[in-house]
């Protein structure tokens, strides 16, 4: 009988250490990576399905008004109600406030675990500074909020474009201003909430505390502003004739900015609407909140330059 060598089923190799000889980025690549990693985490990418449910559900919910509006437009396109709008582009920016819950969960999740788990020394052993970290985190949240605020607007615009009676080109011509107003308003809205939320979250190492603190800031400031506006003789906020006390409401500032972008003035039907200098007041408070938040964050992470 002839002996025959049979192929082995498997083998173990000690590949040892292999030096890395591929592409290697510098500080810019590290910054981009931090933004990418933060966005991935916020959207639940490469994480379990549980982490994906909230962000993608919220995006779906935020898109529902656009889909409904497009449906209504389609049904009423040959009727007298053809000009009826369930929701306007300006109003849709306000709908994005529904993303506040998402912000309250996501912003603390972006920064609190890094400090709580003492990961920061590892991050700052890479070619990154505290300012890089701050800009990456705020930038990541701004980008996500922009996406979640802008995509439903795209659905609204494109959907209406194809169902309106006058045709797509006429619709675009009649609504050409929206093409710059919407991205600018949504970007301002996103930057405001991202800066404020990350700054508040950075005050604590506990995610739940960060989220509750943000929601408390919004609701307490809104309530106080409403009370002060009412005490000043104006309506309780939803009636025309507000006062500058309305500037104390954290959630009204980005909506006021949106009004300025779309209308050129603050909507009279708001807490500050109709008050003398309301527009300038909104811009000043907006800048103060964003700059103050970023300044605080730079201070908070200064020790790791």
């Amino acid at each position: 009988m002839t002996a025959q060598l049979l192929p082995r089923a498997g083998a173990v190799y000690d590949r040892g250490y292999r030096p890395y000889e591929g592409e290697r980025g510098g500080r810019g690549a590290a910054r981009a990576a931090l933004v990418r990693v933060s966005i991935r985490r916020a959207l639940g990418l490469r994480r379990s399905w549980r982490q994906k449910v909230l962000p993608w559900s919220l995006l779906a919910i935020a898109t529902i008004p656009a889909v409904v509006n497009v449906g209504v437009k389609y049904i009423t396109r040959n009727t007298p109600a053809t000009n009826f709008d369930l929701i306007t582009f300006r109003g849709y920016v306000g709908v994005s406030t529904t993303l506040l819950l998402f912000v309250a969960i996501t912003a603390p999740d972006m920064v609190c675990p890094d400090r709580r788990n003492r990961v920061l020394p590892l991050i700052f052993a890479r070619p990154l500074t505290g300012n890089d970290y701050v800009l990456a985190k705020v930038g990541a949240l701004t980008a996500i909020l922009f996406g979640f605020g802008f995509l439903p607007q795209v659905v609204l615009f494109v959907g209406q474009m194809f169902v309106v009676q006058g045709g797509a080109l006429d619709f675009v011509r009649e609504n050409s201003e929206v093409l710059w107003q919407v991205p600018v308003a949504v970007a301002l809205f996103s930057l405001y909430w991202a800066s404020l939320a990350v700054a508040i979250s950075a005050t604590t190492t506990r995610r739940v505390v960060g989220g509750v603190a943000l929601l408390a800031t919004v609701f307490v400031s809104g309530t106080v502003a409403s009370m002060l506006v009412s005490a000043g003789g104006a309506g309780p906020g939803i009636f025309e004739g507000g006062s500058l006390w309305g500037l104390l409401s954290a959630s009204d500032i980005p909506l006021g900015m949106s009004d300025l972008v779309f209308l050129g003035h603050v909507d009279p039907v708001s807490l500050v609407g109709g008050a003398q200098g309301a527009g300038i007041g909104v811009v000043m408070v907006y800048v103060a909140v964003v700059a103050g938040s970023l300044g605080y964050l730079a201070y908070r992470y200064r020790g790791v330059q």
Binding site: R15, Y17, G22, A33, R118, V119, F124, A125, P127
Partner: protein
């Protein structure tokens, strides 16, 4: 010419609190495995943070692998891996995710970072555990994960801060074996520790600091040889031989009636002659004459405070 691993000149750092952490430290350390030893508070971690560009010196200069840290304190980190002493890993993420993420932050492209993470985790013995959350890891596995993230971007040098802290004897052996292999990978290691035995076993160079000042620097074996002692065994009369050698200016420690340790500096030939002649003059039988190498612990404790 290969640049030194670390080169400092008149390096001082005084914290805002007034504490002088490093006091005019001047040392040149060649590449390889280098032990940075000193008691707690000696300035080891401060020196590592200066090497990483995370602190700015009060005076003096520091170079890491030929790069002046002051010229590019951020960019120099692209060539350095860092393993902190404390626990610094997020417990809700897998080792593969953490190491890949930190690889990306070091400038590697995402795909390459994941590939490298897989390789280095395999190398440190976490091949099967790399997809498990770190929260379930033992201390030894966490330390190995920390080492993996330090080398994931294939740095020129790794700074290891107390790599065996908190490990049981088996874990310590495994960690020391890994640290000892780094030189084979072409990665120099600066190992900060207060465990002198660790340094003696895996480092071919040693830098000894105390109170922010340099005590010793040089090849480990040379230091041990230079400060070696001679163990002399005679029949009862060690005291008389000690007296005779003392008169000749030789430092002697009497261990018991028949044993004494004689301090030897340089090649020791002169001392050997004195011991031989002294024993002969006193009529003592010389039973043994052996070289006893001093441990780093003894060398460290022997220094004037």
């Amino acid at each position: 010419m290969v640049d030194d691993l670390l080169r400092t000149k008149g390096l001082s750092l005084r914290y805002p609190s007034g504490t002088l952490a490093l006091d005019e430290l001047t040392v040149d350390v060649p590449r390889g495995s280098v032990g940075l030893v000193g008691a707690n508070g000696a300035g080891k971690t401060t020196l590592l943070r200066l090497a990483l560009g995370q602190l700015r010196p009060t005076a003096g200069t520091i170079e890491v692998v030929g790069r002046a840290v002051a010229d590019d304190p951020i960019g120099v980190r692209a060539h350095i891996g860092f393993m902190p002493e404390h626990d610094c890993l997020p417990s809700d993420q897998t080792a593969a995710d953490v190491v890949a993420t930190l690889g990306e932050l070091a400038g590697l492209p995402p795909r390459a970072a994941r590939q490298r993470a897989s390789e280095v985790l395999d190398l440190v013995g976490l091949d099967e555990a790399r997809f498990r959350p770190i929260g379930g890891f033992s201390t030894g596995m966490r330390q190995r994960t920390k080492l993996a993230q330090a080398i994931v971007a294939d740095p020129e040098v790794v700074l290891l801060d107390e790599p065996t802290a908190g490990l049981d004897p088996i874990g310590r052996e495994e960690m020391l074996a890994l640290v000892g292999r780094l030189a084979d990978f072409g990665i120099s290691a600066l190992v900060a520790t207060h465990l002198l035995d660790d340094v003696q076993r895996v480092c071919d160079q040693v830098v000894m600091i105390d109170g922010g000042k340099l005590r010793h620097a040089g090849a480990t074996q040379a230091l041990l040889h230079r400060t070696g002692a001679l163990r002399v065994e005679v029949n009862d009369g060690a005291g008389r031989l000690a007296d005779l050698l003392g008169v000749a200016g030789v430092a002697v420690t009497v261990v018991d009636d028949s044993t004494l340790d004689v301090r030897v500096d340089g090649d020791g030939g002169h001392v050997l002659d004195l011991v031989r002649d002294g024993a002969d003059d006193l009529g003592l039988a010389l039973h043994a004459l052996t070289t006893r190498r001093t441990s780093l612990d003894e060398l460290f404790l022997d220094q004037p405070q």
